[in-house]
Subunit: 222 residues, 2 copies
């Protein structure tokens, strides 16, 4: 009886971590600050990138690695920004791994990029289990997903630096208690920075942009 | 500039079909019709069960196997119905597999049950890759997830018998084009039965209940 997680084996995971470290060091050397956006299908990851990239582009070169099981829908939505984009199709695999990111980085013009966004496969579980060598983990959680996601899928909230609570524009139509969402998140990871935004309306997206710029300054001081 | 594409190649999935087949045959022998509810975190799987169980309970004994990575939140929401429920905690694994279902079935009073619901781990990818021996696959997709989920996560739509498009009560607040959702789904699987419901308001849940009863009659004729 075979379960995927068992078959991966310790060696393969160790190999993954080794490549993740190489990715991390290469990006460090190139002074590229990178963000790994994770979250459920439909949480709004691509829309957040659509909102974010224009602000970043004004100041810095940026690039995107798009992870999808199949298709190039998300890449196509970002094509209008005329920035370097690598689309990775995982061929059924439910997450990005370090090797895929390595291949992605190899195709990017690194000297033109200061901020790199990775959009992981839409999945609140598996992407959290694979190190990929990206500096900041961002979990995107939409208020339409209910109040209990952080306690039901704790790992991704534990390993993240920021939680973007998205779709706040829908709050007035739902019974969802956003304070309860926040309380639950902080139970799982009390250090997680929470930014509430609506990528649809642009509400509070500035706080997320400010975070990126502020982290970029720190990254280049360090 | 532009989009570069990388294909990682076919996945590394193992088989648990033998145990799935055993589960299938045991349920057949006991004349228990079973439904495997799959979908993203927050798509509304538990709420659909909360809406469904009272109707089923009136006519038939029913039971639930609840799959979660961690916690017993969903089971607790169903406790009020006083039906047999088995909670499976996968301990980090992103899907239910046939062995977990076998263990779950062993704990249920099978002679009292005619309809069995399995609520899979919230994940639009991995649950589709593991046969578990359950008769009907149901994919739950909420309109808040956007229009393109079926084309981005095709497998789960391909292997399903029914797609419950949930949260139709929110349609009036969103720009989402539900006709486009349906068109996309039928591109992936033209035989997929689509039922649009709101588990929140109960709208059109009767169509789903009728489907269950009608399938139960067919199952017991066959």
């Amino acid at each position: 009886m075979g379960i995927k997680k068992i078959n991966i084996g310790k060696n393969l995971l160790a190999e993954n971590d080794k490549i993740a470290e190489e990715n991390f060091l290469l990006l460090k050397e190139k002074r590229i600050l990178s963000f790994n956006l994770m979250g459920s299908p439909g949480a709004g990851k691509t829309k957040i990138l659509e909102r974010t990239i224009p602000y970043i582009k004004k100041k810095f070169g940026c690039g995107v690695i798009e992870g999808d099981i199949a298709g190039t829908f998300d890449s196509k939505r970002l094509e209008k920004f005329k920035i370097p984009i690598v689309q990775i199709n995982t061929g059924g695999v439910c997450h990005l791994d370090a090797f895929m990111i390595k291949k992605g980085i190899e195709k990017l013009p690194l000297d033109e990029i200061k901020i790199l966004f990775v959009e992981n496969v839409g999945n609140l579980v598996c992407p959290a289990e694979f190190k990929i060598g990206i500096e900041k983990n961002i979990v995107v959680s939409s208020i339409t997903e209910g109040e209990d996601k952080s306690v039901k899928y704790p790992l991704i909230f534990k390993i993240s630096d920021v939680c973007l609570i998205n779709k706040t524009d829908l709050l007035k139509f739902l019974k969802t208690d956003i304070k309860k969402i926040e309380r639950n998140i902080l139970t799982i990871n009390k250090n997680l920075k929470i930014i509430k935004i609506s990528a649809e309306t642009g509400e509070n997206v500035s706080a997320w942009i400010n975070y990126i710029f502020s982290e970029y300054r720190k990254y280049n001081l360090g």
